[in-house]
Amino acid sequence: MIQQVTTTESDQTLDAPIAPADHLVGKSCRRVDGQEKVTGAALYGADLFPNSAELFASVVRSEHAHANIVSIDATQALEVAGILGVYTHADVGGTNIHGLIRRDHPALASKRVRYFGDSIAVVVAKTERAAKLGRDKVAVTYEPLPVIATMEQAIAEGACKLYPEGNVMGDKRIRKGDVERALADSHVVVSDTFFTQTVDHAFLDIEAGTGHWDGQVLTLYVAGQWVHEERRLIALALGLPVEQIRIIQPVTGGAFGGREDISIQIYLGLAALKHQGKTIALRYTRSESMRARHKRHALKIESTFGANADGMLTAAKIVVYSDEGAYASTGIAVMRKAASHATGPYCVPNVEVDVYGVHTNNNPTGAMRGFGACQMAIAYEGMMDRVARALDMDRETFRRKNLIQSGDTVTTGQRIDPVSVGLCLTKAIQKFKDQPYPGSDHLPAHIKRGWGMSAICFGLGYGDGFPDCSRARVELSDSGIATVYTGGVEVGQGLLNAMMQIAGEELGLPFESMRIVAADTELTDESGSSSATRQTYFTGNAVRMAASELREQVLDIAGIKLKVHPHEITLQHGWAYETSNSNNRVRMEKICTEGLTRGYSLKATALFKPRTIVEIPNTGQSPRAFITYLFGAHVSQVLVNIETGEVKVERHIAAHDVGKAVNPQSVEGQIVGGVAQGLGMALMEEVTYRDGRIMNPGLTDYIIPTIKDLPPVEAIIVEHDDPGGPFGAHGVGEPPLIGAVPAILSAIYDATGKAPCELPMSPERTWRLINEVCENDPLSKVF
């Protein structure tokens, strides 16, 4: 994907004053991909079809949540007019396995299926209709196995085992101090159990793409989140050398973690390899997308917190069961993130956390915005409200007594400096109290108003010693245009602008002189995934380092031209001038031409690879589990109809420390968008299963917030320079969602006097909470 700014500025003549310093970092430059997105010219995966699709593929999926495959018979399918081939595991040349951490997920199942979406065969045909018809005619004979629909069933005595090792996928723990004793000595001890639901990413741009094999190179146009790692996984599964695969990310309509696992890449690759010279197209429908893709983990979180009479937390004992579904996906990392964020931004001297990942025959669960930290925030913030109430203490005061301060440690033992969570909370609450909501104070008797708050932290990057690095390349051309090359993927978050702005800032170039090439394994170097809120920090640092090396070259050349020491030169708006005499100046074009003829490379690459330290397994302690921490605080105000259980969020304030907002408009967009997803998770979103089958695989019943559900979200950008980030920036992607959910629940608690512990708080759940109706709830559960 090559992006460039289309507007050009009129040429400045030599006598004209140099345009004022245009600080690209901190400026809301118009999105470089804006024009193509508003005109419909942007090509997303499925938009490539009309011009390139020659053959179509379709995937045969399991009709059972758990079964042995007895036979796969393609005879009838092959009789359908237009069908060119049906391919199974036997046709796959490599390991036929993928999986981001643990490689356990067969691309095409051979012996056994473990969830309803498991794929069994790929059908290729001349038309999409024929491919689907053929798919439906592939006869698979199954020997059904007992379905493990809930975690309870999975860990029950004598349960059918999904894997030889059993159904517990793994565990993570934290041990700090003496929890039992501290609880025994506490003034109050409060326990509750939280149930978070299975959530779907529901990005709008359904999985779709093309694949082509020319005998030398397999070219895939498929949206992922980490094209270089996807290339490795595809290579392994298909038995091709990595060098023979090229992935090009089309314009991508959202990801939110939902494109981290392999989706259609291997099917397309297999089909392409079997039909050399033809471009294969494959797209899911919404229901197939929901049925196939991993989900956010549903967690059962048993929490016990103790506090002394002064309102200081003494201990936390937390046991978590996590529905891992059929395959591991990124589950192990999510479990660790849950453990390391179990007590959030609070000082708790004695902590015991046990997180158990449990396999079921539900969809695999993996990455989604917030990644384990999100579910834990629901529990620890829920507990803060409960403990404050038990102590008869104001919720804010109680939180403030226990929030970490700069130099304190979080639950992993990592010392954090600076800490800005208190500042975020102050700003959010101040805004709430200083600018009262304009709504009416006269509410009918059945409508109750309440407000709540949350304070959260988030460790940025993969952390825990997991390899994490970004590369970048920046080049200057004869005409003074700088091009940034990054392997990072733009999924809507604004990565392209951020990288262009960082490089432009470093080089003193106007935004119009910037270009970017992203996410093409042939043209760009690996930059890790667009996830874990890491790209601004990681790739941003790499881009800045590369740009800064170029800057040195530019200053060197300019120094010769201007006959002054390079340190006496300012780069501004496409000019280099003597800092004390701006008439002694030269344009970037001239410098570049000069540099290129004199043998300067005018290219620079950089690698940013900070280290984190893997935790001690028995205690979960690590002096540097994460490279840096992000903080945020929310205030939410709701109206609850106590007769029907309907909840309306009236007002929502979100304060986030982003280090430095590289593009404030994008940052605000991330904050408000994260709140929207948090609101969805708090109030309405829920994948429901019956015996492993998704009951709501579509947007009719998997409902997400509309424009009428969102109050005007007030975003507060807190800028507290991160010493390790590019221009002080760190990141913002995930924390807004994490903060939103508990703040809304806290507001419901305030309005109703009843503490919510089950998500989502749909009208019915809220009504049950208020009326204490807890007869057997037939709504589906994975617990």
Partner: protein, 277 residues
């Protein structure tokens, strides 16, 4: 084949000729959803969306007659409060530009908001066939069982009518702020003679009236005590089920809650005269 009759008579000809071999389509908001899901695979269509006569709304002898092709967007401009609000709660504006009241009645979903509002307003539906001409029947008799109706294979829905000036109230509980499928919906209307009718959506296989509750109300002036009695009674008249959208327990309770709320509104607004607009 795709037939696109421009007159209702032509449509009736086609209907009598093709019967169930052809799929009648108007706004397509039910038909094409089902096609996209692969639930139906029609190859012959009678598209009634171009028939101007079906788009009319007119007053006649104390009745308001709405053609079957009147869209929710059109109904959203009407002065009958229940019907207006119900119509404006359907989908988003694009769905309301497409979806028709005739389609809603033909689909006969227990969640059909248009059906519930019309039931409460004692609506009658006009069915037509080439062979037997037109017939009016009370909408309440038209719904037979889950998605089973009185519409014969050679018939089309022509119109629906209601008395001119009922006062009405409507409320639907959904899971979000817009584009809601109802969890429970309730409509109430009252005519000049204080005859009050209640109807519910999502409480059984068909859009449902509550005759006993209505009987209790007939001719009476609304009082808080009476409203409580009626709200209790309706819970025995509805037979909701558990499904993945909600449970019977909740729905039953909500029928009572909504009945009470809407009747109370009618009672409180009564002194203001016709507060329907």
């Amino acid at each position: 084949m795709f037939h696109q009759p421009m007159t209702f008579e032509h449509a009736l000809d086609l209907r009598s000729e093709l019967g169930t071999d052809a799929t009648v389509i108007n706004g397509g908001t039910d038909v094409v959803v089902a096609m996209n899901h692969g639930a139906i695979k029609p190859t012959t269509f009678i598209d009634v969306s171009r028939i101007k006569a079906l788009r009319g709304i007119e007053k006649q002898n104390g009745h308001l007659i709405m053609g079957a092709g009147v869209t929710f967007a059109d109904l959203g401009k009407m002065h009958f409060r229940a019907l207006r609000e119900a119509s404006l709660s359907v989908g988003g504006p694009a769905i309301r530009n497409m979806g028709t009241i005739g389609g809603n009645i033909a689909t006969a979903s227990p969640a059909g908001d248009g059906c519930v509002a019309l039931l409460a307003m004692n609506a009658e539906v006009q069915l037509s066939s080439k062979a037997r001409g037109d017939r009016w029947m009370p909408l309440v008799d038209y719904f037979i069982d889950y998605r089973k109706t009185a519409l014969a294979d050679d018939e089309l829905i022509k119109a629906v009518r209601v008395h001119n000036n009922p006062r009405s109230r409507w409320y639907k509980i959904g899971k979000r702020g817009a584009v809601n499928i109802s969890l429970v919906c309730c409509a109430i209307s009252q005519n000049e003679n204080n005859k009050t009718e209640l109807a519910f959506g999502c409480v059984g296989p068909i859009p449902k009236v509550a005759p006993k509750a209505s009987a209790l109300l007939t001719g009476e002036t609304l009082t808080p005590e009476l409203i409580d009695d009626v709200a209790n009674l309706v819970t025995h008249e509805v037979a909701p089920i558990d499904d993945q959208r909600g449970t019977a327990t909740y729905r039953r309770a909500m029928c009572s809650t909504l009945t009470k709320r809407l009747l109370t509104q009618l009672m409180e607004d009564a002194p203001k005269g016709d507060a329907d607009a």
